[in-house]
Symmetry: C2
């Protein structure tokens, strides 16, 4: 549609909505129409929530999780097992582990993965802070919950090299067949890894 | 993840994002993470654009299109053929026709479809305004660009009954095989309609 046939306010809204992951140019228009029909219940509250979160949500100075309090709610939770530290690439992975209830210890968010090809080195990630945190002595186990990709495994190797020893054990998530996974649909790499890491039934 | 492990500002943002069409609870979290990483380039401008559009974008008093000027840019465009009036259910359908460049006349947005089962009658839609607009005399043809659903066809019949005569012709979009459509994948209703409305090759 010609640019002059749609108001500048509406066009800017559509352009910004289209930048969000999961929304393209067409679904951004659909979202804009939906929002304009729900101005008071959704559109204005969303505008406020965006500005409010942009101002108040900060990275936790201890673990890097995003929260409006610092230390974050997980770091401040005295019932959590602080001797087990789970290292994740990103806050999204932290949320995924929390959703699964898979970890009751603390976290450390790296903010990315080592990637020599993309020029991401140890100083670009929160690795120094992780090593300092482990050196403080309270942590007994570091669980590397990093993706099973080349960069993820590169990062895991680097961290294992720099963290092991001094009474700290470094572990990784197991690899294998996903729960509910049909063997027929799995890639060869996963099947080989699951076979290699086989355990007594 | 337990409610207390995620800040209230962030949780409210995720809940509101999840209400948008095309985003579910999980993709809303992904969108929130993306926005928090792009606070200045996307998140704050989006908050402003939402509030700005919520305040400024209004339904055109002539045709019902959404724009920040009234009459809207299409109604105000003197180069458009105002004798041909295209009736659509919704602003989204108007945008689709504009994107296709399928119509160079004026529009009238009904704001919905007649639906006896859902209790939507003529007074719930902008039908009175349409009839008054046609009675003014400038319109020579009314094109009913309504969906090929039961409610769409009910509405089309009702409008044809109330608009025809007095020098105004009422037309509808043709039905048939979509451009690029494989016959094998088309439903029986479309195939029957295309066969019935067959034309010389």
């Amino acid at each position: 549609m010609p640019a002059n046939q749609i108001g500048p306010e509406l066009q800017r809204l559509i352009d910004l909505l289209a930048k969000m992951p999961g929304l393209g140019p067409r679904s951004a228009k659909r979202a804009a129409l939906y929002l304009l029909k729900k101005r008071d219940p959704v559109m204005r509250p969303l505008a406020f929530a965006l500005a409010d979160a942009a101002d108040k949500v900060k990275a936790c100075s201890v673990c890097g999780n995003w929260d409006s309090i610092d230390p974050c709610a997980i770091c401040a939770d005295v019932t959590r097992e602080k001797t087990v530290l789970c290292v994740v690439q990103d806050v999204g992975d932290l949320w995924a582990l929390e959703r699964a209830g898979a970890h009751r210890g603390a976290y450390h968010v790296l903010g990315g993965l080592l990637s020599p090809l993309d020029g991401v080195g140890p100083d670009d990630l929160h690795i120094g802070a992780l090593i300092a945190r482990v050196k403080e002595g309270a942590v007994k186990e570091v669980v590397l919950a990093l993706p099973a990709t080349v960069d993820g495994q590169t990062t895991a190797h680097y961290l294992a090299d720099h963290l092991e020893g001094g009474g700290v054990s470094v572990t990784r998530l197991s690899q294998g067949v996903p729960v509910g996974g049909e063997l027929d649909y799995l890639d060869e790499g996963t099947l080989s890894a699951a076979m290699k890491a086989r355990r007594p039934a």
